[in-house]
Symmetry: C2
Subunit: 231 residues, 2 copies
Amino acid sequence: MEAEWGSQTRRVTSGAMRAVAEYIGRSDLQPGDCLPPERELMAELSVGRSTIREVIRHWQALGVVESRRGSGTYLLRRISPETMHLPLAVDSGRNGLLQMLEVRRGLEVEASALAAVRASASDLERIASRLLIMEAVHREKGCAGPEDLAFHLSVYDASGNPVFNQLLSQMRESVQTLFGMSRVRVDFAARSFPFHRELFEAIAAKDPDAARSKTLSILAIVEEDIQDMIR
Amino acid sequence: MEAEWGSQTRRVTSGAMRAVAEYIGRSDLQPGDCLPPERELMAELSVGRSTIREVIRHWQALGVVESRRGSGTYLLRRISPETMHLPLAVDSGRNGLLQMLEVRRGLEVEASALAAVRASASDLERIASRLLIMEAVHREKGCAGPEDLAFHLSVYDASGNPVFNQLLSQMRESVQTLFGMSRVRVDFAARSFPFHRELFEAIAAKDPDAARSKTLSILAIVEEDIQDMIR
DNA sequence: CTGCCAAAATTGGTCTGACAACTATGAGGC
DNA sequence: GCCTCATAGTTGTCAGACCAATTTTGGCAG
C-alpha cells in the first residue's frame, strides 16, 4: 500500500517542479538567461508563491538555477523533466579532501581511457593545441595553472561523456571554494608536466591502458604535492 | 561590485541552513529519526515558517531529509555544517544510462584498487564470506542479485573511503528507480560470476593493478548484458 | 544630445495567519 | 484483547503584506 505515495501528497509542488522543468526544457533558455519572475510563474501555474519558491529552492539546491535578489532567477544548467539528480555529500576538512582526490582519480582515469578510445580528429587537435599552449606557458613562467585546467577539460570532453566534465569541474570548484587554495606554491605539480605530453600521445595512439597509466602518473604527483601542502 | 553577494542577501535562510545543519550534527539524530517539527524549529531559530520550509526543501533536494505529510521530517543521512554537496545531473534515457555506466566503471575500478591497498584482515574476512554466500546462491539458483550487491558493497567499504559507497549506492538506486529494471533476465551478468573470486584474490594479494583489471572484466560483461537488454 | 542622479518599478526574501490533507495517538465501546 | 473513531499534531498550500536589493525610468544639468 505504501506505493500509493502519489495519491494526493505533494501533487502541487511536484506538479509545479515538473512544470518548471518542462518550461525550461521547452523554452530556448540558455545557461545565464533569466527565468520568469516568481509572481508570473505563480499566476501561470495557478499555485501559491511559496510553492513556486520551494520549487526554485529545490533547483537552487541542485545547482540548476541561481537567484539574485532584485534581479531575477537565472538558469545555470539546462535541464529537462527527465533529468536525474545525484546529490553527493562529502565531508570537508583533510579527510574530505583526500576522499575527493581518490574519487577524482577514478573519474579522471576513466575519462582519459574513454578519450583514448573515442577522441575524434578535432578532439585530438584541440587537446594538442592546448598542450602546446600549456607547454609554452610552463616554459615561460614555470607554472601553468589555467592552461593545465584547459588541457584536462579538453580531455574530459574528448571522452564523449559530458558527465565527467560536469563532475570533475564541480569537484574542482568545490575544492577551490571550500579549501581556499589561493596561495599554491608556484611550482605546484610541476613535476607532472612532462607526463601531459605522454598522456596526449597515449590518447592519440588510441591506447586506453596507456592513457590510464599516464593519468595515474600525473595524479600521483598532484596528490603528493597536495599532501605536502596540507601537511 | 557584484561579488558582494554576502552583504545582506540570503542571510536569514543561509543562517538557518547552517543552524539546522549544526543541530543535526550536534544532536544524536540517526538516519531514520525524526527532526523537530517546523513550528518548533521556527520558534527556536526565530525565523518565519516559510524560511524553515525552504531550508528543509534545500536539504530535501540534496537527499539529506525526507518529509512525510502529517508525520514529520525524517533524517536520511547524517550531515555536519562542513558537509560539501555536489549535485549531479544526468540525462535519463539510453544515453544517460550508458553515461552512468561509464562513470560507475571509473569509480568501481578505483574502489577496487584502493581496497586492494587498504583492506584490513576483517575487511577481507567480510568480503570472503559474502563471496562464499554469493557463490553458494549462484550455484543453487543460477543467479544471485542481492548477494552480488552485498559482495560489491563490502569491497567499496574496504576501500576505506565512504564516498565510493555513497556514490555507487545512489547510482544503483537511481538507475533502478528511473529505468525500472525489475524484469532482468535471470542469467543477467552470470558470465561475470567467476571473475568475482579472482577480484577477491587480487584484493587479498594486495595487488591494485590486478584488482583494477578484474573489476574491468566484471563490468565489461555487465555492460554487454545491459546493452543487450536495452537493445 | 549626453551624462549623471534620484525616484519609481521590478524582483527576490521573509513574516504572519489561515486552512487543507494526512498521520499518529489514545480513549471508548465491543 | 481488538476494533473504531474522535482528536491533536504535522506537513502542504495559499494569500497578503512588507522589506531589501536591483534595475529601469525619467528628469535635470551640462
